[in-house]
């Protein structure tokens, strides 16, 4: 069975000038330059979004929903990621941002406060009852899930099978709203404002369920430019007394370390950034990480606040989040008995288990793969090993692998050509 994997970004061939920036920076080596254009491997890409931010010609575009695509819904609810608030200075009350979202056409703004608080509680409960292999790995970064599925297939069973705040929020809304508003379920549109392409992918093709609870995803970048003038205008005449009494604000799980802060657990570790994360995952596979029960992991440096859809510098966003938390955060009340009952019923769990998605580098047949691996090493020994990238592969080793798969010719390595006097007698 061949499954195609959906990705939220693609290369626009007309714009691509083969600068190789994306190829060199791709953490899973999913990009090759073929015929002077970047090509992304569907199997290897984990939607981290690194290539988006490094491309000098903006040739890698993301596929998000345009805002006007939702006009056919009667009632539109938007669930902004907590990262959206961090894009604004702490002097701006989060409520202003919610008002601005209503200005651009959403009927309701719903936060994830309740879900994050409840899930933090549920997470502790799950950890306390868990008997299996440690550490457990957080599940809310979709790029991390894909990284584990692709590169660390053996670790999928250590991913916490709890659903993520955004999905739990949308599910609650779906359950409550039709009754509350007296509308048919299909008349209500629920949208997510995403900080990164991975979240777009995870709503379009979730790893853990058949279909997401969201109807569409927009990027922070698109929303920001629309709401910014409104935010400034509302701020001018804003009176803090206008904030409704039931308004609550938390900074969610958007920043690295927040889960740990909300759950108050003991043996934890928080990692962000793909290269660091891969090192830690390697250590977990080698069973080198002992004495760690829980790993909060995000592929973006510092957490979602540096997602590739954000507009603000991640460090400024981090400072904003910390200030906002001190200024505006209010604890969320919930009924622990009800939550625990739901937990026992399996309400907060993923619908389907996360399955490995190991990459087939060579053949499926072991014998051929071993032969090819041997061949790879022989070829690699002959290569210059300087990873110049001129052949269109990020490293000499990757080039050797491409060669044994029959995708390239050795003559694509210019240094090898030079060494063998290949061009003798030809015009250059």
């Amino acid at each position: 069975m061949v499954t195609r994997f959906y990705h939220a970004h693609q290369v626009v061939p007309e714009k691509c000038n083969a600068h190789m920036k994306c190829m060199r920076s791709c953490p899973t080596q999913a990009i090759r330059i073929r015929d002077h254009k970047a090509v992304i491997s569907e199997d290897l890409c984990v939607d981290c979004g690194t290539c988006l931010s490094v491309c000098p010609s903006n040739a890698i575009t993301t596929i998000t929903d345009p805002l006007d695509a939702f006009s056919h819904f009667k009632y539109k609810v938007v669930v902004p990621t907590a990262v959206l608030y961090s894009q604004f200075d702490a002097s701006i009350h989060p409520y202003i941002i919610q008002l601005a979202l209503k200005e651009i056409g959403f009927n309701e703004v719903s936060d994830m406060n309740f879900s994050t608080t409840v899930l933090a509680h549920v997470l502790m409960k799950y950890l306390n009852n868990y008997q299996g292999r440690l550490p457990l790995i957080s599940s809310h970064c979709p790029s991390l899930l894909r990284l584990i599925q692709v590169k660390y297939p053996d670790l999928v069973e250590q991913i916490i099978p709890l659903d993520v705040p955004r999905e739990v929020t949308a599910r609650e809304l779906r359950k409550q709203l039709p009754q509350k508003l007296g509308l048919k379920p299909e008349e209500i549109g629920i949208f997510y404002i995403a900080p990164c392409p991975a979240k777009v992918v995870s709503t379009r093709q979730p790893a853990e369920k058949a279909k997401s609870w969201f109807d569409g995803v927009v990027s922070i970048r698109d929303v920001f430019s629309l709401i910014y003038p409104h935010v400034l205008a509302i701020k001018e005449k804003f009176d803090p007394a206008e904030v409704p009494e039931d308004f609550s604000f938390t900074t969610g799980w958007s920043r690295l370390g927040n889960i740990i802060k909300y759950t108050k657990m003991e043996n934890w570790m928080a990692v962000s950034g793909l290269s660091h994360l891969m090192k830690v995952l390697d250590d977990i596979e080698n069973s080198r990480l002992r004495n760690v029960d829980f790993l909060e992991a995000m592929t973006c440096m510092l957490g979602c606040i540096s997602g590739s859809f954000t507009v603000e510098n991640a460090y400024v966003a981090r400072a904003n989040i910390i200030k906002q938390r001190m200024k505006y955060e209010t604890p969320v009340e919930f009924d622990p008995v009800e939550v625990e009952q739901n937990f026992e019923k399996g309400y907060y769990f993923f619908e389907n288990p996360i399955l490995p998605r190991p990459t087939k580098y060579f053949d499926t047949d072991l014998e051929t793969s071993i032969k090819r691996m041997k061949e790879r090493d022989r070829v690699y020994q002959k290569l210059p090993k300087i990873d110049c990238g001129c052949c269109g592969a990020p490293t000499c080793l990757a080039f050797a692998e491409d060669f044994v798969r029959g995708e390239v010719e050795l003559t694509d390595c210019i240094l090898l050509l030079k060494k063998t006097n290949y061009y003798q007698g030809e015009d250059i």
Partner: protein
């Protein structure tokens, strides 16, 4: 006039200069004077010269000779230098004596209307195309051995590099496509062995051999050796220093953990000389 070109053979993998007489005939639009029936023979080098003493001095066996000297001398020299054939350039034709000599001595004689320079370039570019075709195929030859063998080096006392070899081995096994559970066992065992080397030995050689039926990791160190292997295999027994334990190592689980994760473990050790671990994992 002496021109010479020497197309070096690139001896890597499947990229090998494979060129036959008939390819030359085609490339140079040459007519065949002798050896029509042996046009399928291959050659390895090309030598172009009009000076026969140079051919005898520098020509390599299994070459072909490009020359403008249409005398019997040229054919005899080519035979002496163990060449496979002669191409006469500028449309020259040798006499009958040369033809008979060539037929008797299994030489191919060709004649092309190109001049020496053009002929050399044509051969070079024909080779270009030829190697491209040869390198794109992905069929492996059948009699190639199925054992993958790789050697790694571990240095003692280098805690920062512990894990490098096991990560490398893991990445090789993942790419081959073994079962993740099996890879995990191999990775854990290798990592523990690596740690043992770092803690207790000066250096070690790690040999990974992979077949479709078995993965074997041999860790051969030059260290202080294990006086009592049975004792070392007991969980919790350790000779690590407090300093090592402060770094989170040396809990006495190394060898027991290796034993738990391998299908077959052999330990040979001599005090003062070193230890050799042979870990086998069956597929």
């Amino acid at each position: 006039m002496v021109e010479s070109t020497n197309l070096e053979q690139i001896k890597i993998g499947k990229l090998r200069l494979i060129m036959l007489m008939k390819n030359i005939k085609q490339a140079l639009e040459a007519s065949v004077i002798a050896g029509e029936e042996i046009l399928d023979t291959s050659f390895e080098h090309v030598y172009a010269s009009d000076l026969m003493s140079d051919v005898l001095a520098f020509g390599k066996p299994n070459s072909i000779l490009l020359t403008g000297l249409a005398t019997q001398q040229a054919v005899i020299s080519a035979h002496m230098a163990e060449f496979k054939g002669v191409v006469f350039v500028r449309g020259k034709l040798p006499k009958d004596g040369s033809r008979n000599f060539a037929i008797n001595h299994q030489l191919v004689l060709l004649s092309s209307s190109m001049d020496m320079y053009d002929a050399c370039i044509k051969i070079d570019s024909a080779l270009h195309k030829r190697t491209k075709i040869k390198t794109t195929g992905s069929k492996e030859s059948r009699n190639e051995e199925m054992v993958l063998c790789q050697e790694f080096e571990i240095l003692g006392d280098d805690f920062t590099s512990a894990g490098v070899v096991s990560t490398e081995i893991k990445s090789i096994l993942k790419k081959i496509g073994f079962d993740p559970k099996l890879i995990r066992r191999v990775a854990i065992s290798t990592y523990e062995a690596e740690l043992n080397v770092v803690m207790h030995a000066n250096r070690a050689k790690v040999i990974l051999s992979v077949t479709p039926y078995c993965i074997e990791v041999i860790v051969d160190d030059a260290g202080k050796g294990i006086p009592d292997i049975d004792l070392a295999l007991q969980a919790g027994y350790t000779t690590a220093t407090d300093e090592m334990r402060a770094m989170g190592f040396g809990s006495g689980m190394g060898l027991p953990n290796i034993k738990k994760n391998t299908d077959q473990l052999q330990i040979q050790s001599e005090v003062g000389k070193g230890t050799r671990l042979e870990c086998k994992f069956f597929i």
